[in-house]
């Protein structure tokens, strides 16, 4: 079975040795050429110098409509600060992969000057010692102070009494509606926007009317392939109930979920599917399409989906805060914020970084068009913002926004949201009972609570 060809002897004028020698020389030349260019990444990496002195490096996690709007804002910054070289920006897939990159780059002492983080994740980065504190002096560099921001978001940006993040927006989970369907269902008020919906009965009545008018469903939201969305839906309803406690407390060391309320909330969510008011198995694009094509009166998701809705030709839609079905107003939300990863920076670098942050905050109106509620008060309180509709119709939600409970395993796109959200999705799809789901959530969260905090 041995079929190896005989080893060929040396032949021809080009011996192996001379070939190797030539190759080495060529490679060496290439290396020299590569490092010769001033500011090449390789040279900077070898020498440990700054990649591009005078440039702000900025990492973010904005895709889709947010990404396009951010690009406009970044171009504006470049225009004002001396051209394309003034800013290097990189966008990464959001969630754990993004935060892992930020963490490892900071540990490797090569972080960006400024990065975006959800405030619920920034507190963990701060606890890990990966962030520069944003002191009053740092804020003053950009002419800012704590009073310039919505207080709910500002408080959420703190860790152990110290600010580590500058919130740029609040992004609540909201209600989208197909205005044509809602009009046919008699759900619109005299001003042509959605009439207020109150209580579970009011919600079910609206969904029933919407279902009749659309011939499909009353409301649609993703139940598969988007664990965070399932969590946002559940958290919104659960936290509207009197006596509901955060799922975890003590920084994640104890599980404090009110099992009874959680079971009842999940059972109610499932009942809407059983009554045919909501689809059992659908992902975000699918749920969205149902509302866009008039097969559902409502669609729920983060407000950022406004960009997608606006891109649908001939769609007549509106947005509003998710109604209060239970005792107190509450909607799940988080805030995008600017963080300064820990590194040795000169005063100039810090000032440049803060200048970039200010530029982004000043362009808050552009950002607000993407659906996000500005936290920077000069923008939030401006009449121009109020004129952006339907995006400003849920501006009040910032006052009762509920952020994810603090824990080392919690925050937007975290294991916490995956664990709870996936189980909620199984209930909506009818694959598990509310009782089993809550027991499952409790046992998984207890495992996390008993795991030593790595921060």
């Amino acid at each position: 079975m041995n079929s190896h060809p005989p080893t060929p002897g040396p032949r021809g004028p080009l011996s192996r040795r001379s070939l190797l020698r030539g190759g080495l020389a060529a490679g060496g030349l290439g290396l020299v050429a590569g490092t010769a260019g001033c500011g090449s990444p390789l040279a900077a990496g070898l020498a440990g110098t700054q990649l591009n002195p005078g440039t702000v490096t900025f990492w973010n996690l904005f895709a889709g409509g947010d990404g396009a709007r951010l690009q406009i804002m970044l171009d504006q910054y470049r225009e004002q600060h001396g051209g394309a070289d003034s800013l290097v920006s990189a966008t990464f897939a959001w969630g754990n992969p993004y935060y892992t990159k930020v963490s490892l780059a900071t540990l490797g002492n090569k972080p960006p000057d400024v990065a975006v983080a959800h405030v619920t994740r920034a507190s963990n980065l701060a606890a890990a010692g990966l962030l520069e504190p944003i002191t009053d002096d740092v804020l003053a560099l950009a002419g800012l102070s704590a009073d310039d921001f919505s207080q709910t978001a500002w408080k959420a940006s703190q860790f152990q009494g110290q600010t580590y993040a500058i919130p740029m927006d609040t992004h609540p989970w909201v209600l989208f509606y197909n205005a044509d369907v809602c009009s046919a269902a008699g759900l619109l008020g005299p001003d042509g926007t959605l009439a207020p919906i109150e209580g579970v009965e009011g919600w079910e009545a609206a969904l029933t009317a919407g279902k009749e008018a659309s011939g499909g469903f009353g409301a649609a939201t993703a139940t598969v392939a988007d664990d965070s969305n399932n969590w946002r839906f559940f958290s919104t309803l659960y936290r509207q109930r009197d006596g509901s406690t955060p799922l975890v407390d003590d920084g994640g060391l104890s599980v404090t979920m009110d099992d009874e309320l959680a079971i009842d909330t999940l059972a109610t969510m499932r009942s809407w599917v059983e009554k045919g008011l909501m689809p059992a198995t659908v992902d975000t694009p699918g749920a969205e399409t149902l509302m866009f094509t008039g097969q559902s009166a409502f669609f729920m998701n983060g407000e950022w989906e406004v960009t997608t809705a606006q891109s649908i030709e001939g769609l007549n839609f509106g947005m509003s805060a998710f109604p209060t079905l239970y005792d107190t107003p509450a909607v799940q939300a988080d805030s995008h914020a600017f963080i300064l990863p820990r590194m040795d920076r000169s005063a100039e670098q810090l000032e440049r970084a803060m200048g970039f942050v200010t530029s982004m905050l000043d362009q808050g109106l552009t950002w607000a068009e993407g659906g996000h509620v500005p936290t920077y008060l000069p923008v939030y309180e401006s009449p121009e913002y109020r004129r952006i509709t339907p995006q400003s119709s849920y501006a009040d939600t910032v006052d009762y926004a509920v952020y994810d409970p603090a824990a080392w395993y919690s925050g937007s796109g975290s294991n916490f949201e995956t664990v709870v959200g996936s189980t909620v999705g199984l209930v909506q799809q009818g694959l598990t009972s509310p009782q089993d789901a809550v027991a499952g959530i409790r046992s998984t969260l207890e495992t996390y609570a008993n795991t030593p905090n790595p921060l």
Binding site: M1, N2, S3, N96, Y99, T100, S103, L104, L107, A128, G129, L130, V224, A225, D227, T281, V282, D283, P285, G286, T289, W408, Y409, N415, T418, V419, S422, T423, G425, L426, L431, S443, T444, T447, T451, P452, P454, L455
Partner: protein
């Protein structure tokens, strides 16, 4: 899926090199030639592996300097008790069970068929091997498109056949892993196919001639000639396949990232999450070591089987 060794013929201890050259000089030059590889092997494989083993006894956190506190076997004890770890090991095994049989059997069948083609063999060889040269990111994109809920290729086909609301493959916990397995079989079958084809072409034609003169049917020829003569290739393919399947990471990370929920989270994803998303590098090291033990056990079993085969032969 990167480090396949294409050595279809396992080293058989044949005649030792007969020439008795001065051993000292030869040995020195041998070491010299090995040195560059040995250096990188030490720095980037043995060194880190040793560090990992040591770290598994500490509550090491990636965001704290040093190894942290010595906690003995606590990481291992916590893992053994953790349902998340066992379920990720189960998902790895599940993936292995879904992919190894089709990858071995189908590649054998296809190789036998391709080998019988009177002409156009190059085309078939290329056709089966092409997917294998694609990077995992590309095949993930292709299959995510195919599996897209409601509007994807697969959903469209199902709708053509009258299923109004087809279940989203990657969105349903019970079948997401099947979806990934199907994509993987399509992607990697070419490699085993080539190994089998090479093995087939090494079987002397005369054997088949003799068999057919003796009146053996084509099926009997496959059953009593081809399969036994390819048994070496089969053990090799099996081992490579099992190890590749136990290392499953890329496709799952890119197609579902372990979801829906944690229903496709495999051992390596669990380790990555624990080490880099949760910062718990000590616990991740312990999990890696347990996975290492499993893989070594399988490799040893394979070695024993091969030795038994050699004795039998």
């Amino acid at each position: 899926m990167s480090a396949h060794t294409v050595g279809a013929q396992p080293a058989v201890p044949t005649t030792p090199s007969g020439d008795a050259a001065p051993a000292g000089g030869r040995q020195r030059s041998a070491w010299l030639f090995i040195a560059p590889f040995a250096f990188f092997y030490l720095c980037f494989l043995l060194g880190p592996a040793l560090y990992m083993f040591v770290a598994s006894f500490f509550d090491a956190s990636i965001v704290k300097s040093g190894l942290g506190n010595f906690i003995g076997l606590e990481n291992y004890a916590a893992l053994v008790r953790s349902s998340a770890f066992w379920s990720s090991m189960w998902h790895t095994l599940q993936f292995t069970l879904y992919t190894v049989p089709p990858l071995v059997i189908l590649s054998f069948v296809f190789a036998v068929l391709a080998n019988r083609m009177p002409r156009g063999q190059t085309f078939w060889r290329l056709a089966f091997f092409t997917p294998y040269i694609l990077p995992s990111a590309a095949i993930s994109l292709i299959w995510v498109f195919i599996y897209t809920a409601d509007t994807g290729l697969w959903a469209t086909v199902q709708k053509l056949f009258g299923d109004d609301s087809p279940t989203p493959v990657l969105g349903t916990p019970s079948i997401a892993m099947v979806g990934i397995a199907v994509a993987t079989v399509w992607w990697t079958i070419g490699f085993n196919f080539i190994l089998y084809l090479a093995g087939l072409q090494d079987i002397p034609r005369e054997l088949y001639e003799a068999a057919s003169i003796d009146g053996a049917t084509p099926w009997q020829q496959i059953r009593h000639l081809t399969i036994p003569l390819l048994s070496r290739t089969t053990t090799l393919v099996l081992l490579l396949q099992i190890i590749a399947s136990l290392k499953i990471f890329d496709q799952v990370y890119l197609m579902t990232n372990g979801g829906p929920g944690t229903s496709t989270r495999t051992a390596l994803l669990f380790i990555t999450d624990t080490g880099f998303a949760d910062y718990r590098i000590g616990a991740a090291a312990a999990a890696s070591f347990l996975l290492f033990l499993v893989i070594v056990t399988i490799a040893v079993i394979r070695q024993l089987v091969e030795r038994a085969q050699q004795k039998g032969a």
